[in-house]
Amino acid sequence: MALTGVQIFKLLPKTNCKKCGFPTCLAFAMKLAQAGVDISACPDVSEEAKATLGAASAPPIRSFSLGTGDKAVKLGAETVMFRHEKKFVNPCAIAVNIKDDLSEDALANMAAEVSASEIDRVGQKLRVDAISIEYASGSSAKYEAAVKLVAAKAPDAAIILNCKDTGAMEAAVKAVAARKPLIYCATDGNAEAMAHIAKANGCPLVACADGLDALSTLTEKIKGLGVEDIVLDSGAKSAKEIIEHNTQIRRAALKKSFKPLGYPIINFVMRDDSIHEASIASVAIAKYSSIVVLSDISKWKDLVLFSLRQNLYTDPQVPMQVEQKVYEIGEPKADAPFMITTNFSLTYFIVSGEIENSKVPSRLAVMDCEGLSVLTAWAAGKFTASKIAQFIIESGIADQLARKELILPGQVAILSGALEDKLEGWKITVGPREANAIPTYLKGRAS
């Protein structure tokens, strides 16, 4: 729980020495309560006060990075159970697991595939974020070599070391320590040794136990050994365990301030069938996982999972908008149909999709209406005859058209007269009311 200004004030030296830049300790305390300054601005504050403040201001779900560099993925810091309440904060990392006993070529290929997985989707660059290297060979030397190889061939990916043997783990961590690999995993049996390796190398550590009771005990133990960046594996394998454990973990952390489970979650979703695996991965993505580990990746699978993650992690308060401009669909010639709609992304997706389905190359003017749909924008006075006229004139599109004709959404047919008055020399045509009628409409015009 966050402390009030007065509670913080009681922890300060109360000398009003002004070294923090504030006239009084109380003023500084008030600012601290609003998280407007950092406690370190006061040089004289006691260690004890710092610790109290730190614990009180810690987020209910701890946040830290997986991997290093500008492709590192932030984990944790979530604040809600449902995305309509507030934006989900840190999109989960997508990882693929590979066994160290594969040939060098196979290892290198997988690393290369991960490296090449980045695609651009609705303005965001999305990629497979991490590779989990599984200790299956039984040889510490082989494991270390595989880890080194994969790390070198996938220089941007985060590394997860999937190995229960502490000796092999120690060597592998040292080999790629600069990449801050995630250590998988500490169990009740090896917690001391794994925590020691994690602490010595400054790496995050997965706590793996069977069920949430045992897991809570284990994270407390690991924390007691000095490791702060912990990831949870409750042993959930079935979709049922994933949804129930993950829900209980997030609820315990957010609603009960239960610190032992206030960490990000990792789920392994391996299935024999790749499409079924994508379905189980969706359960983990939607239901609170921070790292989802797959058994294999492919371009179609990446695309489908990236899209789901992107959809669920968008801000529900901000309507998704697309850029205002005239979009070309197909390769429109000068006499191609010219249509207009608003910049609500859903409207744009549906309308442009239907134009594509029609196979009639067209131009689509998308007008900035602050992300409102056609009818709402019209009702709000943002999609009016004069604003549309101004946008069309300023776009300079007339020069590219053989014939100045604008097709208006059927829902705002009422605007056609006023628009014809304002857009001199233009013919205004009323198009279909519903987007699903666009293909028939465009094909009808073309014939």
């Binding site: 449902f82 995305r83 309509h84 695609i119 989707r121 949430l212 009771d213 897991l215 809570s216 407390e220 079935s238 979709a239 049922k240 949804i243 129930e244 829900t247 209980q248 609820r251 315990a252 609603k255 009960k256 239960f258 610190k259 032992p260 489970l261 069938d273 790749s274 499409i275 079924h276 994508a278 379905s279 189980i280 969706s282 359960v283 939607a286 239901k287 492919s298 371009k299 179609w300 699978k301 695309l303 489908v304 999972l305 899209s307 789901l308 992107q310 959809n311 669920l312 968008t314 529900p316 992304s345 859903l346 997706f349 549906i350 999709g353 594509e356 389905n357 699903n436 009628a437 028939t440």
Partner: protein, 313 residues
């Protein structure tokens, strides 16, 4: 600190709706907790998947899914039998697409005959869907409801612009009814109220808050469904307690990701898997948000989602 399972219990309950006849009848809904969280509530019925068929050759479906049915889709009766007998469909959703003025404009009488023929050929429950044309659906669904009288079907979709006639037909012939509104919890609530004010039992309603495909507004559908569920369970709002339907197939199998070949978009990978995965993942997210009844097209997608449902219960 020892761990205590943080349970939540609700006063509200999702209404259970049954449809179909005899030993093939099905029920959906009835749960007292959020989707699949059976550690804190009852989930008497798991989500049901209905196979979508149409009353005309589905030439607007992309090849991946059209080819599956190429030998049977020339006739809705053979198509329905194929789904029931070969694909082991638990329910069938017959979409009367060819009644749409732009897609053949077949008459309500024609549609009624198709409904009768399909019903005579199958034992599993039938969902009867119009072509989503407000005016035409009113007449088509009235005639279809009559043709299916006594079969305890689900008919739909009743929308703000046509619900009165469709509700009256569902009442007269004792069918269940899908009420559809566009991605807005308040509109969904308002339509349910209008329909029950006509004397229609809310325990026979199914809410369609409008589906969207993954990548094309799925998050709106997802959140509207979650909010409807929370309103029904946590706030015990009786108008928000009918089960939810997700009409997934028709939204998925027209977007670019299920249509564009790998040659056109090399970055997107194999088209066949991509399409099936798209329907699978869209449907999976819908059931996580609260959908009780899915309408889907590709048998492999249905199979994968059923596997996931069986893992979730």
């Amino acid at each position: 600190m020892s761990f205590v399972v943080p349970k939540e219990s609700f006063n509200g309950k999702v209404l259970a709706v049954d449809f179909g006849k005899d030993d093939k009848a099905l029920a959906i809904g009835g749960e007292t907790c959020l989707p699949f969280l059976s550690f804190e509530g009852e989930i008497p019925h798991k989500p049901v998947i209905a196979y979508e068929i149409q009353d005309c050759v589905p030439d607007d479906w992309p090849d991946t899914v059209k080819n599956v049915y190429k030998d049977v889709s020339g006739n809705p009766v053979t198509w329905a039998k194929y789904c029931q007998n070969e694909l082991k469909a638990k329910a069938i959703a017959l979409r009367l697409s060819s009644t749409h003025p732009d897609r053949g404009d077949r008459s309500a009488e024609d549609a009624a005959k198709t409904v009768k023929d399909v019903l005579a050929a199958i034992q599993v429950p039938l969902i009867i869907l119009g072509s989503n044309h407000i005016e035409k659906d009113a007449s088509v669904l009235v005639a279809s409801a009559q043709a299916a009288s006594g079969s305890n079907c689900i008919i739909g979709k009743a929308q703000e612009g046509n619900y009165k006639t469709i509700v009256a037909a569902a009442l007269a012939h004792n069918h269940k009814l899908i009420a559809m509104s566009e991605l807005d919890i308040n509109l969904a609530k308002q339509l349910n109220i209008l329909i029950t004010q006509m004397g229609f039992d809310k325990a026979k309603l199914i809410t369609d808050p409008m589906c969207a495909a993954l990548g094309y507004g799925l998050e709106y559908t997802y959140s509207v469904m979650e909010r409807i569920r929370l309103a029904g369970l946590a706030q015990n709002d009786p108008t928000m307690q009918p089960p939810i339907v997700g009409d997934v197939g028709m939204y998925v199998w027209k977007i670019k990701e299920t249509v564009a070949s790998e040659t056109d978009v090399p970055d997107w990978g194999a088209l066949e898997e991509r399409g099936i995965a798209w329907e699978t993942v869209t449907a999976t997210s819908m059931i996580l948000a609260g959908t009780n009844l899915l309408i889907m097209r590709h048998p492999k997608a249905v199979e994968n989602v059923e596997k996931t449902i069986n893992e979730l219960v």
